[in-house]
């Protein structure tokens, strides 16, 4: 009788453990990205300073900023809306081809739609690196960006 009870306890324990593991796997598998608006920035700086940092030393800047949450402040050079309604905001020196290009998270498109060219704003995004081109200028790319607050 006692042995039977032990076996039942073991079976119940195994079921609970399997259940917890299955729940963990399911949650991890279906995990979506955390809204950037809720993330604390790892670095906060001027858009022009971020571009300059990459232009001066791309390797060191990649090591420092890549995959980090960056908050940049700067003048809006361009507001681009594509045919599917996705926004990209370019921040930086208006006399230069180089910018911080922020691909806006679709959840936050509404905030981006109100941004005016020439205004000063702050944007938070995940740094995906630096794209330098002799003809097109050098751009730092932020993805999943959100408009942080207007200055």
């Amino acid at each position: 009788m006692k042995r039977k009870k032990v076996i039942i306890y073991i079976i119940i324990t195994v079921f609970i453990l399997v259940g917890i593991a299955a729940l963990y796997i399911y949650k991890e598998y279906t995990r979506t990205h955390t809204d950037t608006a809720l993330l604390k920035p790892d670095y906060s700086l001027e858009a022009t300073s971020l571009v300059k940092a990459f232009e001066t030393d791309e390797q060191a800047s990649n090591k420092k900023f890549w995959d980090k949450v960056i908050r940049v402040e700067g003048v809006v050079k361009d507001v681009i809306k594509d045919e599917k309604g996705f926004f990209t905001l370019a921040l930086g020196d208006t006399s230069s081809m180089s910018s911080v290009r922020c691909s806006i998270d679709s959840v936050h498109s509404k905030e981006a739609a109100n941004v005016q060219k020439g205004s000063l704003i702050a944007i938070k995004g995940i740094c995906s690196g630096f794209n330098a081109d002799e003809l097109l200028g050098s751009d730092v790319i932020l993805v999943r960006s959100v408009v942080d607050r207007k200055k």
Binding site: R31, N62, G129, N131, D133, L135, V143
Partner: protein, 186 residues
């Protein structure tokens, strides 16, 4: 004299219009490695690729940051960057090639032109020659370029772990779409 000036000026403008560089920094690259047995779509989009097209020679070039590919699932994106394409070691991918039948594209006339694009693509530090079917669409003077190509992941030394091997296609479909603007250098 006036007529001569008009002819020279007009010819120069026409030449510039036909042989100009066009670009975008917002080219869209769609990556799809969904297999028949994938439980859900294995796809991502990069919306910040750059593209330059020389309409005179047909030379076309793309450049993109691998970390710029956005997946719906966070875990899928982490695996893509950390285990498959190793974005930290190989942050950029690029394509350099030519529109083979560029002479058939009338950039000054509205229309949809079916073309073949041939060139070298570099992903994960590996370069391979590829040929893709594409379209050049001219509408009201605006140029849109589209291309579809398939790449074998093993050609680029991208290995899929055995545990998920049947859930991810061995060949990824890459779709490119970009609306180009004339390039004016400052």
């Amino acid at each position: 004299m006036k007529i001569l000036f008009a002819i020279i000026f007009g010819t120069t403008i026409a030449y510039q219009g036909l042989g100009q560089k066009y670009f975008t920094k917002n080219a869209k690259i769609n990556f799809d490695a969904t297999s028949a047995s994938s439980p859900e779509k294995v796809e991502a989009i990069n919306r910040s690729a750059t593209c330059v097209l020389d309409t005179k020679t047909g030379a076309i070039q793309f450049s993109m940051l691998m970390k710029g590919f956005e997946f719906e699932r966070a875990l899928m994106e982490e695996h893509f960057n950390e285990n498959y394409v190793e974005s930290d070691k190989f942050p950029k991918s690029e394509f350099k090639g030519k529109i083979k039948d560029n002479d058939d594209v009338k950039y000054d006339k509205d229309g949809t032109y079916t073309v073949k694009v041939k060139g070298d693509i570099t992903i994960h530090g590996e370069t391979k020659e590829v040929e893709a079917d594409g379209k050049v669409i001219i509408q009201n003077g605006k140029i849109t370029a589209e291309a579809d190509l398939s790449v074998k992941l093993s050609d680029f030394k991208i290995s899929i772990p055995g545990l998920v091997a049947d859930k991810v296609s061995k060949t990824a479909k890459i779709t490119v779409t970009c609306s180009l603007e004339p390039l004016t250098t400052k």
